[in-house]
């Protein structure tokens, strides 16, 4: 499935939900990147306490209130976005980087290599999502990097499968047969001819997956296997606020939860949009 970038973009721009989502995500990303410039409480965003304004309810000074160490929740959310967003993206990118070449090799070479690699992916896919990630994250120790690694380890088989399926359909094409016929080495064929032709659906799937990856990462953080203090991601913020949630300090968990919810939704809408726009057969559905 080779897709023209121009027409894909054109279709994407007609999808209102996707456009709004992209704008939202861009805003969140900008808020994350330029957080130090955008909030007067940058130091608090990075963890410094301000015990004087402990547990301030949402108001003009602190629109989303403050936490138990008096930190402004808007600043915490903006700095938290750095981690939550990057976790989602890194998981997907890492999974792609592991999965794509393996799937490509399996699909291209076929035979026992294919069989072996696919059985390995079967094993990974046999776990209910999150369960294996929990076990691995627990084994590696709680940290931001380990959480990303743990989820990526459970995620790559999806990309391996996708890459393999795409490779199988590309493999028989004339130009590849031709390249093989004139003795181009396998490695070169895979990299020059197969890879570019299978990337589109993989990238599309990746866009769809980021939202889910953010959710899973937030889940790990929620049970304490993710970002460590003094930093926080959105999952950690929900977890920290939970103790006080039903005791009148509702704002602590509400806003980070909303942030995850809306971001995941935006990625889903954007991913759907990209998928439909990139697949001519689906465009009619618009």
């Amino acid at each position: 499935m080779k897709v023209e970038v121009g027409s894909t973009l054109w279709f994407l721009l007609r999808d209102r939900a996707a456009v709004i989502s992209a704008a939202f995500l861009l805003a969140v990303a900008l808020a994350a990147v330029f957080a130090p410039l955008l909030t007067p409480y940058a130091a608090q965003g990075m963890g410094d306490p301000d015990l004087g304004s402990k547990f301030t309810a949402p108001g003009i000074k602190h629109p989303f209130g403050t936490d138990g160490l008096g930190r402004d929740q808007v600043a915490r959310l903006m700095f938290g976005a750095r981690r939550s967003l990057s976790m989602g993206v890194l998981v997907v990118v890492a999974a792609m980087i592991i999965g794509t070449p393996l799937g490509l090799i399996a699909g291209y070479l076929g035979g026992w290599v294919d069989e072996a690699l696919m059985r390995v992916t079967d094993v990974f896919l046999a776990f209910p999502p999150l369960l294996l990630a929990i076990a691995i994250a627990a084994a590696l120790g709680a940290s931001y990097v380990n959480a990303v690694a743990a989820i990526a380890v459970t995620w790559w088989p999806w990309y391996a499968r996708l890459a393999r399926a795409q490779t199988l359909s590309v493999r028989e094409r004339a130009y590849i047969e031709a390249a093989r016929g004139i003795g181009v080495r396998h490695r070169v064929i895979m990299r020059r001819h197969v890879l570019p032709n299978i990337l589109t659906p993989i990238v599309v799937q990746g866009t769809l997956d980021v939202g889910t990856a953010i959710l899973v990462a937030a889940g790990l953080s929620f049970i304490g296997l993710g970002t460590q203090a003094p930093y926080a991601d959105w999952g950690v913020m929900i977890s920290d606020g939970r103790l006080y949630f039903l005791s009148g300090r509702w704002w602590l968990s509400t806003f980070p939860g909303l942030a995850i919810f809306l971001t995941a939704m935006a990625f889903n809408f954007l991913g759907d949009g990209v998928r439909i726009a990139a697949d001519p057969r689906l465009r009619r559905v618009l």
Binding site: F11, R14, R284, L286
Partner: protein
Amino acid sequence: MALLSIENLTVEFNTPFGAVYAIRGIDFTLRKGEILGLVGETGCGKSVTGRSIIGLLDDNARITAGRILFEDVDLLRLSDAAMHEVRGNRIAMIFQDPATALNPLFTIGAQIMDVLRAHRPAKRGDLKTDAMSLFADVGLPDPAQMMHVYPHQLSGGQQQRAMIALSLAAEPDVIIADEPTTALDVTIQAQILDLLRVLQRERSISVILITHDLGIVAETCQQVVVLYAGRVAEKGAVEAIFAAPQHPYTRGLLAALPRPGSRGSDLQVIAGAVPSGLERIAGCAFAPRCEYVMEICRGQQPAFSDIKQAHQSACHLHETFADA
């Protein structure tokens, strides 16, 4: 005695690229008891015409002008409920690939009984008897066993027979057969066409046979309508048109026709491509590909002219050919 008249039927499709003109105003008439061939290349609008008649256009299609008169009632003005009464009961349809037109998860018997039940209340036993007699009518072996058979257990020809049985279930007046034999072998093809002819004769059903194969038209039809780019290029009695085709397009088609009796080949043998449905066409749609093209052809749409009573062609040159 016109059973069904199509008048200035115009259909557009909404696409993200803009409106696609599928049918640009066509007229023809189907008389009772005759088989009318609707011929043209892929994309000329012949299937859309069939779907328009039975009211099953895709959601993004819009009929922007015209009338479809069935026994002097405009089908386009009927309510959904009324149109629902027409479908199956008065007008039925047969599809190109019986393998996809039959539901794979239900037995043939169940499917035909669904149709029977939809059109008349009856006891289950009666329905079953009727279903089996329909199977016999269309020449399916062992009708009793057919009741319990799934589509995939039948051969292509048998599937199409079953499909025909389904379309006959409510005793319609008109059957629209959309390329009913394209997916079948040549020998089976002939058998199915025979069956259609028999049904037409014995039940005096009118048939609109949609095909791209002029060979089939020659063997099966009494009337023919040649479509090009959503317009009628030429229409009339089969003998007249095959004897003296008036439109350069029809001539091209006939010239490409292999010996009668062998399987028809694809019709795209005339140089050039069919114009895109996105374009508005000012003059003759065929002009870009026409070897006889004249100045007038690009600017003005040719009107129909009667060559004889039963033979009309839309070409600025028609008199030239008539003389020739």
